[in-house]
Symmetry: C2
Subunit: 235 residues, 2 copies
């Protein structure tokens, strides 16, 4: 398997960093290959605008998708974006490793998506969801939380984690075609013992080792929607 | 009313910019007051790490919440954050104006939240949700979409918009205490006529003019959860 792990945590010695290291270890050797983007250490720039391109299609008005299409045709994405695209197209498995900040990914990772997932190259012209550019590849979130699992239950204070992650799992990863696996969640690592943290690292290792057998989250197929993008009647 | 509008769009002449201008116009005069943060023009830095602080609590290990508590006690937030906090505490109404990018806010706005909504100052010590620091204030999202409204219906291709916005409305705004109003949504402004865009601007003006009478989204109160953060039985 060709695995690509993206890490978004300001502290390299964090538990997120330790989980990231497990992924590197599992996929380095044993017939696998591994690449990574440690966004904080790369000082990845998350602000999306004209800086994404070495070309200009419309100098008067900046419409990102127009510029993305132009850059896709002319290979004029700035090198920091082009390098990330190359890793995305190379991998069979994408791992996003992050702490849940404000019930989403840290801005540095959101900006990685905003800038790298460009129209023309990564989606567009009917290429989305199960018809997406990355269809057949797998993606998975590996995340840490501040609160415990109860607060993320369906009847929990924060709400159901699967609903909270839906904009990422469905709206980002599935949108561009990935088969999205259920997330690996380390609940509240800051509040547990070193032994429990080691248990998480061990179970993450087992999870990754068997990841080719994990069943993806079931989403309806494009074909189930009509031309106005509503579910077809199930009669 | 003291209104604070935050704009996240790289093109100032965009429809998001036009909506932002409506808010500025409505709340400048007529007994109202208005402040704003145009994040792209301010070149707001969305990356959250030690740069947030002029102090250091733990030089060995960076744990953001520890540093935030320390900075809250010592007023050592960097000036770009301190200025945004001041506007947040000053306002009665917070407006977040943004294009829906990847079913969430642009990274520059997510980073504004990651950095400005700091533990100790904006939440913590039991101050959250209806007991939050900003309780009694109102907040509202004003956003534009690429797709049409049908694709964001409950049976739509992208999924229900209210679910997609839940991590922001509940997880960010309600978390820190705001009464969260239903969003103002301009569907697919890039695909409509100038007259229809003007209709949106007019209806946004009416929406803002009557915003003190808009009913907030209903969320369960903290008191409805037990000590493990699960809903109390409704027997």
């Amino acid at each position: 398997m060709k695995a690509f792990a993206v890490l978004a945590h300001p502290e390299r010695e964090s538990f997120n960093g330790a989980l990231f290291d497990v992924a590197a270890d599992v996929f380095s050797g044993g017939g696998h290959e591994f690449v990574s983007s440690d966004l904080y250490r790369m000082q990845f720039d998350p602000v999306s605008d004209r800086r994404n391109f070495t070309s200009v299609k419309d100098p008067q008005y900046f419409k990102q998708q127009i510029e993305e299409l132009h850059a896709s045709e002319n290979s004029t994405f700035r090198s920091d974006i082009a390098e990330e695209m190359e890793k995305l197209f190379w991998c069979d498995l994408l791992i996003l490793q992050f702490p849940l900040w404000w019930f989403s990914m840290p801005a540095i990772m959101k900006g990685w998506v905003d800038r790298v997932f460009a129209m023309g190259r990564v989606y567009g012209s009917g290429k989305w969801y199960d018809q997406g550019v990355f269809s057949g590849k797998r993606a998975v979130l590996s995340l840490t939380t501040g609160g415990g699992s109860g607060s993320y239950a369906e009847d929990g204070l924060h709400g159901d984690l699967s609903q909270i992650l839906y904009p990422i799992n469905h709206g980002i990863l599935r949108f561009v075609g990935f088969d999205v696996l259920p997330p690996f969640v380390a609940w509240s690592p800051v509040r547990i013992s070193p032994e429990q943290r080691q248990d998480y690292l061990d179970s993450y290792r087992r999870f990754l080792t068997g990841i080719d057998k994990v069943e993806p989250i079931a989403y309806p197929a494009l074909a189930e929607f009509d031309e106005t993008f509503r579910r077809k009647s199930l009669v």
